[in-house]
């Protein structure tokens, strides 16, 4: 406990090292989140940054927040993101090509200027010496926070509760789909099916006796993969494992071996005849 308090009130060399190492990681993660082409990768790198931040919280004596950061943010919110990414799937949005003229340039300028300003602002502030959280965390960080939340900030706290409830309801309202038309009857569905391209059920993925994973397209008699057998989403994501190639290779190898075997037999028969 006391060490923690100490850690909170002064900066040790250890912390410095930790900072310089993790800061790099955090920035890298952030950049990754911005620059990665696929949403999933962005999400993951962002999660990394968050974890790093959680560590920094801890280092700054905000133990409660550090834990919450990991549990709530990284654990819940980022997972929520991933869910949505899965739902939405891949879209044209993922290409990094700019469509609005001058957007990149303007954005760059603004960001640059903004960053410089922030830096300048911080640089201007006099932050030579600081008084750590020693006595603030004396009774324990969580207790301290609790004391504040339920006294000084109780009103804001309650409001936040209301906000959360509202958010939940809002999310439900938004995502709840109203059925506009009447549901299709069985007859209609069957008719639609008859008229559609595929009367029988779609062919199953997988190659008989070798693979049965969903991401492996079945092979047509000539060994080429069939588009119908895999989920379009997977194909769009490029997560289709095409095994047609190795099947053909196997075939070629088989013929090769049989040919060699036949030759050997011919040689034997000649020897017997002499």
């Amino acid at each position: 406990m006391s060490s923690l308090a100490a850690a909170a009130s002064s900066t040790s060399t250890g912390e410095a090292v930790q900072f310089w190492v993790l800061a790099v990681v955090a920035v890298a993660g952030a950049l990754g989140a911005v620059l990665m082409k696929k949403a999933v990768h962005s999400a993951l790198s962002l999660a990394g940054t968050m974890i790093v931040l959680a560590v920094f919280y801890l280092a700054n004596g905000a133990y409660f927040l550090g834990i919450v950061q990991i549990v709530v943010y990284t654990g819940a919110i980022m997972m929520l993101f991933l869910f949505v990414v899965m739902l939405v799937g891949v879209t044209a949005a993922d290409s990094l090509k700019e469509t609005i003229r001058g957007q990149r340039l303007l954005a760059g300028l603004c960001v640059l200027g903004f960053g410089i300003l922030l830096g300048a602002g911080i640089a201007n502030a006099s932050l030579r010496d600081f008084n750590g959280l020693g006595q603030a965390n004396a009774g324990g960080n969580v207790q301290g926070l609790a004391a504040l939340i339920f006294t000084k900030y109780v009103f804001a706290f309650e409001i936040t509760g209301a906000l959360l409830i509202t958010a939940v309801v809002g999310a439900m309202v938004l995502t709840h789909r109203e059925r506009t038309g009447r549901p299709a009857t069985q007859r209609e569905r069957s008719e639609a099916r008859v008229r559609g391209k595929h009367l029988p059920p779609l062919p199953a993925p997988g190659v008989y006796a070798r693979h049965n994973a969903v991401d492996i397209p079945g092979l047509l008699p000539d060994g080429t993969p069939s588009e119908l057998t895999v989920n379009p989403t997977l194909r769009a994501r490029g997560q289709v494992r095409d095994v047609s190639g190795e099947a053909l290779e196997d075939l070629a190898a088989l013929e090769q071996r049989s040919k060699e075997w036949l030759e050997r037999n011919n040689d034997r028969s000649e020897e017997r005849a002499q």
Partner: protein, 99 residues
């Protein structure tokens, strides 16, 4: 080490997040960048609370997290709805907000 470095880091992260918001087209990614910015702010708050030696900064960061959670919920719901209606999560496709 001077804790102000935390602030510089926060500023840097914030800026990066902002750049992401401005550059990316995928609504989800934009959203993530927003989260990044929020986190940067949180870091700043926490650092401040350490510098001042009281917990108010942490409280604010805490509230920020809560609000962010609510915001994410709604935001993602909206994204999903939009995606449903126009089969795209690109913010540029929803460009009807003009005269």
């Amino acid at each position: 080490m001077n804790p102000a470095n935390y602030l510089y880091l926060a500023a840097l992260l914030f800026t990066i997040g902002a750049a992401g918001v401005l550059i990316r087209r995928n609504a989800i990614v934009i959203f993530m960048c927003v989260e990044l910015m929020l986190n940067a702010c949180n870091l700043a708050f926490v650092t401040f609370s350490r510098l001042h030696g009281n917990l108010d900064g942490q409280i604010i960061a805490f509230f920020t997290m809560v609000v962010a959670a609510a915001e994410v919920v709604i935001g993602l719901a909206i994204i999903v709805t939009i995606f449903r209606s126009r089969h795209s999560a690109s913010v540029d496709d929803a460009s009807l907000l003009k005269l």
